[in-house]
Amino acid sequence: MTDADLPALVRQEGGRVLATLIRLTGDMAMAEDAVQDAVVRALERWPHDGIPANPAAWLTTVARNRALDLIRREADRTRKESAAVLLDQVVNRMAEPLSDSVVRDDQLRLLFTCCHPALAPDARVALTLRTLCGLSTVEIARLFLVEDATMGQRISRAKKKIETARIPYRVPADHELPDRLPAVLATVYAVVTAGHHAPEGEQHDRADLAREGVRLARLLHELMPDEPECAGLRALSLATYARRDARVDAAGEVVLLAHQDRRRWHVDEIEEADRVLQRALTRRRPGPYQVQAAIACLHGMAESFEATDWPQIASLYAELERLAPSPVVRVNRAVAVAEVEGTEVALALLADVEADLARWHLFWSTKAEMLARLGRVAEAVEAFEAALGCSPNDSDRRHLQRRVAEVSRQ
C-alpha cells in the first residue's frame, strides 16, 4: 500500500461503515458526521500507527463512539424525553454484535433506501454515489456536469425527504421485490452508463464513474445472489466496462463498435461477465439485464464485427423488445437485423419508431448509415443532417460531418 492509496481505502471502507451507522443511529446526517470524523482520525493515525487488521471495524468503533457523543450531547442540551429514549435505543442497538452478514445487509438497506421510488431518479443516482461509493458532492457534480450548489441541493433535498417523509431503512420483503428491485437495478446501471456517455474532456472522471458502477453491480449481486437479474446487471456492467479503452481513440474521438480495436478490450473481464451470466441463466428466470448481458458478451467474444453471431444477437434483441419494449431497443434490434435479414428489413423496423425518436441523433445516424449502404445517397445525407440537427456533442458532431463528406463522395 502506498500513501496515495490510503485515502481511497479510507473512503471505500468509510462507505461500508456509513450504512451500519445509519441503521444504528436512525439518522443519516448524524451517521455521516460520525463517519466523517472517523475518516479524518484514520487519515491522521494510520500513516503512523499502520493500517489496522480490520479497517472497517476500526472505523466503525470510532464512528460509533462519536455518534454516541453527539446523541448524549443532544440529550443533555434539550433535556427532552424523546432524546433520552433515542439514546437508550441506540446504546442497545450498538451492544449487538456486528457480523459480516449484518454489515452487508446494512449496505443493501441503504441501497434500497437511496433508490426508493419516492425519490427523483437523478437524486437516487447521486445519493447512491454519495453514500455507498463515498464520492463527495463536488465529485458527483463534476460527473453529471452540474453546478456544485445544484448537486448539493439535490442530495440534501433527497436526504431531507428520507427523514421527513420517513422513507424506511429496510430491504423490501420478497413479495415487494418485483416492484422495488427494478429501480435499484436502473440506478446502478445509470451509474455505469453515465460513465460512458459523459461528454468529452472528462475521460478520467468517466472511467472512475463506470468503475464505481461495476463495483456497485458486483456488490448488489453479492448481496442478492438468488436474483438472476442482479447477476445479469453485473455481467452487463462488466462486459460494457471491458471495452472502455477502445471506445475513444487517442484524439478523443468516439469509436463505434464496428471500428473498435478489439485488442484493447479487457478479455479477462468479458470472460468473467460470461461466467456470471451463464450461472444466472441456469435459474431460468430471464429478464432484460440478462438478455442485454448476453448481447454484450456475444459482442465481446466475437473476433471481429463481421464474425459476430448476428442471428443470435438479432433474436436476443427480439426477446429484449418483448421483455422491455422501447424505441431505443428497436433501433438496436434493427442494427442486428440489418446484418441478418438485410438493410431493407431493418429500415422497415426503424420506420415504426421514427416519430418517437425524431429528436435522438443516434436514430438518424443509424438510419443514415443504412441508407448509405443501399446507395441511397441523397436520403442518407438528409438523415445525417437530421442527426446534426439534434445537437449532438462535439465529438459526435465531427463524426457526423465526416460521414456526410464521405457518403457524398460515393
Partner: protein, 119 residues
C-alpha cells in the same frame, strides 16, 4: 406514530360533472377503503370537499401577516383540483403509500404532517 395527509385530486374538467352512477361507484370505493383502513386503525380523519366553484381565497400581501384580500375561487387555476383528503397514521412512508394506493381517485398525493409535539 407519524401522520400522513393523503390528498385526493381530480381533473378540474370533470369536477362535479360525474353521473349519479359514477358518484355511487366512487362512494362505494371510499366505503371499502374506510372499512379496511378504519379496521386497521390507520384513519385519523378526513373530509370530502365541495367543488372549487365554492372556494374562497384569502390572499395576504406583504407576507403572512400582511393586509388580506378575499377573492372568489381557488388560489390557482390548475388542471387538477383537491377533492378531499384522509389523515392517516402509519409507521413509515411505505405503509402510507400502501394504504393511499387503495383510495379511489385520479391522483393521490401523500404528505407527511408536521408533528408539533416534537418541535
Amino acid at each position: 406514530m407519524p401522520r400522513y395527509a393523503a390528498l385526493i385530486y381530480e381533473p378540474a374538467t370533470t369536477e362535479g360533472q360525474g353521473t349519479e352512477e359514477e358518484w355511487a361507484a366512487i362512494m362505494a370505493g371510499h366505503e371499502t377503503f374506510s372499512a379496511a383502513a378504519g379496521a386497521a386503525g390507520v384513519i385519523v380523519g378526513g373530509e370530502a370537499l365541495q367543488p372549487t366553484s365554492t372556494a374562497t381565497t384569502i390572499r395576504r400581501s406583504g407576507g403572512p401577516f400582511g393586509d388580506h384580500v378575499v377573492t372568489d375561487g381557488p388560489f390557482a387555476e390548475t388542471k387538477e383540483v383537491l377533492g378531499g383528503f384522509y389523515l392517516l397514521e402509519c409507521a413509515d412512508l411505505d405503509e402510507a403509500v400502501r394504504w393511499a394506493s387503495q383510495i379511489p381517485g385520479d391522483l393521490v398525493e401523500v404528505r407527511p404532517v408536521i408533528d408539533f409535539s416534537q418541535m
